[in-house]
């Protein structure tokens, strides 16, 4: 019996990425993260666990933090996606990004793009978080340098300066 060779399926998928419309032709069952990194070359979000446990791939989808490794690119059709890159406005870092630099909250840096996105989402809905609120908001983001103390301090500092720009 001749084995029929499967042809890759491709869809044209459109969404907004960091404020700009993008259209990408790709296999629809790939993850949003794979397409962001490999096709659109937006490499802030990282793939570590690919199971939704580490948070390194966190992006905002319609304003909510989600693991981009657990969203099919097809499911992102028509949505608004923001990565850590998209939090920079006119070359200026947002207050979370600034605070992470000022407080020295970055060690190896690998988890930081995801953490910045989660912390920004927290301040968008709660500009005056308690330490407990911060810990809950970042519970889905692992830092294997275990630099959590400075990360929490940085988010507290960012909250003090939080001006409602994204």
């Amino acid at each position: 019996m001749m084995e029929s060779r499967q042809v890759p399926v491709e869809h044209v998928i459109a969404f907004r990425l960091n404020g700009k419309p993008v259209t990408v032709k790709c296999p629809p069952a790939y993850t949003l993260l794979e397409i962001l990194r490999d096709k659109l070359h937006v490499t802030g979000p990282k793939e570590d666990c690919a199971k939704g446990e580490c948070g390194a791939c966190t992006v905002l989808m319609n304003g909510q933090p989600v693991c981009s490794c657990l969203v099919l690119v097809s499911q992102a059709q028509g949505s608004e996606i923001i990565t850590s890159e998209g939090l920079v406005k006119d070359g200026k870092l947002n207050s979370v990004q600034e605070a992470f630099l000022e407080e020295g909250a970055v060690q190896c840096g690998h988890c930081i793009p995801g953490i910045i996105v989660s912390a920004t989402a927290l301040l968008m809905r709660n500009p005056n978080p308690t330490v407990e609120d911060i810990r809950t908001a970042l519970a889905g983001n692992l830092c294997r340098c275990t630099g959590y103390t400075k990360i929490i301090v940085a988010v507290q500092e960012a909250a003090k300066k939080w001006s409602h720009r994204l």
């Binding site: 499967q6 042809v7 890759p8 399926v9 869809h11 296999p27 629809p28 069952a29 790939y30 993850t31 690919a50 199971k51 939704g52 446990e53 948070g55 966190t58 989808m61 909510q64 933090p65 989600v66 693991c67 490794c69 657990l70 969203v71 099919l72 097809s74 499911q75 059709q77 989660s118 989402a121 809950t136 908001a137 519970a139 889905g140 983001n141």
Partner: protein
């Protein structure tokens, strides 16, 4: 079969989704929030040529109170549940469970229908739904079925859902101010942890002597499906719930379980934990929450 060969169908209405299921099953595999299906696709546990993405069906994302029941659409996310005033007021234990599932990223995408369809014995929303007397509503081209949750799960990761059906909603009892409830979970850490054991307690029909005419206790991660703690429930029914009575009944809870050894805990450990967690759940429901470090 690699993922590049998988097609994704994106119906825009429920009718369209039902038509696709009718035509293409059993080749189709349903995907909702994706938190289980995507991992299973990548692990090769699911082999399919086509995915039916239900996420565009906004009509399946709702929380409503109709008479003395809460109705939740299958695409309701855990974040929707955590934020819902209706669930917080009438089924707080379900909101407590939703808050302890994964972390915020997962709660924003994972759905109640997905937890039902995935049918993991450790699914955290499932014991609350058992304890709340839930009914799963399924739909296909040939009509609607209402399946009591205890009949919906027919074995380890097996449900009564037919290949041409999808889950439309799940509805359950709205608790009154006199009712008592609790959900407790033991995981290996506070967030992003699959339950070693989870417990839901619902006490209804309160009488002046602090006894209850309706007791429902459901246990997760201790058998191929969620289990009701029948012997424990019988020992509590119409009894004044003082700590001694609650403890004695809790020691019977493990008799209705058949746990396994796995990476999260041994069967023996799970049986021990069931007793403690049921007692703690009853204590929280009747007396109040035990704060950490007290």
């Amino acid at each position: 079969m690699t993922r590049s060969e998988i097609d994704v169908l994106n119906p825009q209405t429920l009718d369209e989704a039902l038509m696709l299921l009718h035509q293409d099953q059993p080749e189709l595999r349903i995907i909702a929030g994706g938190s289980d299906v995507i991992v299973q696709l990548r692990d090769g546990v699911i082999k399919t040529k086509k995915l039916l993405n239900l996420l565009p069906l906004k009509e399946l994302r709702f929380i409503r109170k109709i008479d003395d029941r809460i109705h939740t659409g299958s695409l309701t996310t855990y974040s929707d549940i955590v934020r819902s005033e209706l669930v917080t007021k009438y089924a707080r234990l379900l909101a407590d469970a939703a808050r302890q599932i994964g972390a915020i990223q997962l709660q924003n995408t994972a759905t109640l229908g997905g937890n039902l369809g995935n049918a993991s014995p450790a699914g955290d929303s499932l014991p609350p739904l058992y304890a709340l007397n839930a009914v799963v509503v399924t739909r296909s081209n040939s009509g609607r079925r209402e399946i009591p949750i205890e009949d919906f799960f027919i074995g380890y990761r097996k449900t009564a859902l037919r290949p041409d059906e999808l889950i439309e909603e799940v509805y359950f009892d709205a608790l009154s101010e006199n009712d008592r409830s609790a959900f407790l979970k033991l995981g290996l850490r506070e967030a992003n942890a699959i339950s070693i054991v989870n417990v839901a307690v619902v006490l209804r029909g309160r009488k002046p002597d602090d006894s209850f005419t309706n007791v429902r206790i459901a246990l997760g991660a201790v058998a191929p499906t969620i289990r009701r703690a029948n012997k424990c429930e019988q020992a509590l029914l119409n009894k004044r719930l003082d700590p001694g009575t609650m403890w004695k009944a809790s020691t019977l809870a493990a008799e209705d379980t058949s746990p396994i050894d796995d990476i999260r805990g041994s069967a023996e450990y799970r049986k021990h934990v069931v007793t403690s967690l049921v007692y703690e759940g009853l204590y929280e429901a009747v007396v109040g929450r035990v704060k950490p470090h007290e």
